[in-house]
Subunit: 337 residues, 2 copies
Amino acid sequence: MTTIRDIAAEAGVSAQTVSNVINGRTSRVSAPTAERVRAIMQRRGFVPNGPATALSGSRSNIIALLHAGKTGRRQPSPHDSIFVDEVERRVTAAGRYLMIRSADDVVLTAAELRSWRVDGAIILGTFTSEADELQAAVGLPLVFVDNYSTSPSIRGVGIDDFAGGQLAGRHLIAAGHRRLALVAPGVDQPGVLHQRYAGFRAAVTAAGLGADSLTLVDCEPFFDDGVALGRTLAGDADRPTGIFATADVIAIGLLKGLLESGVMVPGEVSLIGFDDLPEARYVTPSLTTVRQDIPAKADAAVRTLLGVIDGDAAASPARLDVELAVRGTVGPPPANG
Amino acid sequence: MTTIRDIAAEAGVSAQTVSNVINGRTSRVSAPTAERVRAIMQRRGFVPNGPATALSGSRSNIIALLHAGKTGRRQPSPHDSIFVDEVERRVTAAGRYLMIRSADDVVLTAAELRSWRVDGAIILGTFTSEADELQAAVGLPLVFVDNYSTSPSIRGVGIDDFAGGQLAGRHLIAAGHRRLALVAPGVDQPGVLHQRYAGFRAAVTAAGLGADSLTLVDCEPFFDDGVALGRTLAGDADRPTGIFATADVIAIGLLKGLLESGVMVPGEVSLIGFDDLPEARYVTPSLTTVRQDIPAKADAAVRTLLGVIDGDAAASPARLDVELAVRGTVGPPPANG
DNA sequence: CTGAAAGCGCTAACAG
DNA sequence: CTGTTAGCGCTTTCAG
C-alpha cells in the first residue's frame, strides 16, 4: 500500500510536506513543490489512508446518516429512499464518505458515531423529544431532518408542513367540500404530522367551518393500510367527501381501495396527498398532492452540515416551501354530499 | 474518550486482555476476567475506536456498497433503493458499518475502498465487463449483484432473469397473444436485460411462433419514458397486443400512457412488468409482473460477502428464483388482433 | 493465561 | 518554507 512516505521519497521531500499538500496548506509548501507532489500522487493513484487520517487528526471525512426508528418498518419509506439517495450523491460529490446506520434508539448509536470520529451526522426520523437528548449525547455537528424541536441548539432542515396542510385544506374547501377528513398515523406528537394537521385545521377554521366538519382518521403510512381504509370508507354512507392524507402512499392506497369498491374519485370522494412522490403520477387519476422537494431538502441538509463542519456559516434555508400539485383527484363534492 | 486502557485500568488487567475480550479470543482470557471486563465495557458504554481498529488490524468492520453508474440517473431506481435499504439493515444487524459510495467509474474508487481497509464490498449496477477489471483492481472480497460475468473469480448474487423472461413470454402466449413486444433499455450487452430478452424469446420460439412475432422497443427505465412510449403505441394501428417491459416503472408508464390515450388495458393491450415493486399494486388495473425478491437478494449478497470475509464457506444461493405475479394487466388479445 | 514493546499511516507541534 | 519528533487507539508479536 502506498503511503505518504512513498510519495515523499519519490518527490524528495518529507512526509509532512506531502501531508500539507494533501490538506491544502498552501502557505507551507512552495507552489512548484506542491505541484510536483500532486503530480506524483495523481500518477500513482494515491489515496490517503482513511483510518490513519481519522485516527491522527481531527477530521475523518465521514458523514453519518442516522436513520431512526426504521427497523420496524415493513418497507422502506419512499421519501427516505429519495432523501438518502440524494444525500449520498452530495456527500460523495463533496469528497466525503457516507456511513449509513439505522437504529431504533438513536441515542445508543451516539457512541458508535463518536468512535468513528465522524465529522457530523444527518438525523432522519427522530421525534422532537429525541433530538435534544441525542444532541447532548454526541459532541458532533448534527443536522436534524423534519424535526420540530424548538431548542436553539438544534440545527434542522425541513419543509413548511403547516403551509402544506393549509394548502391542502384550502384546495379542498375551495372545491366545495365541507365534510373533510385528515388521514394520518397519529398527529398528537409534536412534529411534522402535527404541523400538517394544524395547517389543515387552520384552513378549515379560516373558512368558517365548524370543528365537526373535520374528522381525524388514523392510518399507518403504508399502501395496504390505505387500501383497507379506502374499502372501509366505501361502505360508510356518512363518509367525508374531501380527504387529506399526510403521505402519498396512504392517498394512493385510499384511491385504490375506493376505486376497487366502486367509489368514484374525484366524483364521489376527493383525495389529496403529501410529498409528490413519483408514484403520485403513476396512478389514474393522477394524485393531487402537496409537493415537497426532497432532493432540495437533502441538499440543504448536506450543505448545512458541511457548513458547520467547515466553519463556514453558510446558512441555507432551514425550512423549504411546499406547493400544490394540482392533478386529478380533487373535484367538487357530489351533489348529494 | 474512553479507551481500552481505561477499561483495562478499571478491571485491573492489561489493555491486551481487554482487546482479547473484545475480539472473543476466549482461549486467552479466563472466563471470570472476561466477564468482568465485559461488564465494565457495558456499563461505560464503551465502543472500540473504529479508525484505530482499522489502522492497526486487518479488519475494519466496514462493508462498502458501491453503486455504479448512478450519477446520470434522473431519479433513484426503486429496485436499488429497496436493495440498499435491506443491505443496510443486514449489515447493521451484523454489527458492521455500511459505507455507501456511488461512482460512474467503479474502478476509480477501488483505491478509496482499499484506503479505508474496507472488509469487503457489494457492487451494484456494473456491466459484465467491468466486473473483472474491478475485481482485479481491488484486493478485497467482492460480491456483484445482477452481474453475468462468467469469470470463475467473480462472486455474484442475482436472480433467474432468463426464467423471468420465459415466464412473461409463456404467460402472454398462453393468453393468446401473437404480436409481442419487449420493451427495454437495450438488450445487446450481456447482462440482466439480455437474459430476460433471451428467456422471452425462448418462450416465443418454443411456442412455434416466428421471429417476426416479436418486436424490440427501446425505452429508458423511467416512468416518463414509458408514458411517452405508451402514447406513441396508442396511435399505432399495428401495435403489439402483448408487451413485456423489463422493469415495472416502464410498464407502469406504458399503462398510464395507454390509458390516457384511450387504449384499454388489458382489453386492447396486455402488459407485463418485471420486479414486482410495491408500485405494481398502486395502479389500476394492478400490474401483472415477474416477481423477484429484492430483500432476499440483498440478504444473499450480505450473507455471501460476510461468509467470504469470515472464512465461512456458507454458500448462499447465487441465483434466486422468480415467479409470476398474476394481476390485472394481462388478458386475451382483442378479437381483431 | 497475561503483560510489554512495537508499529499501522497519518497529523500536530515544534524546530530549523 | 521544510524536516523531525511524538502519538492517535488499537492489534500484533514476543516473553513471561
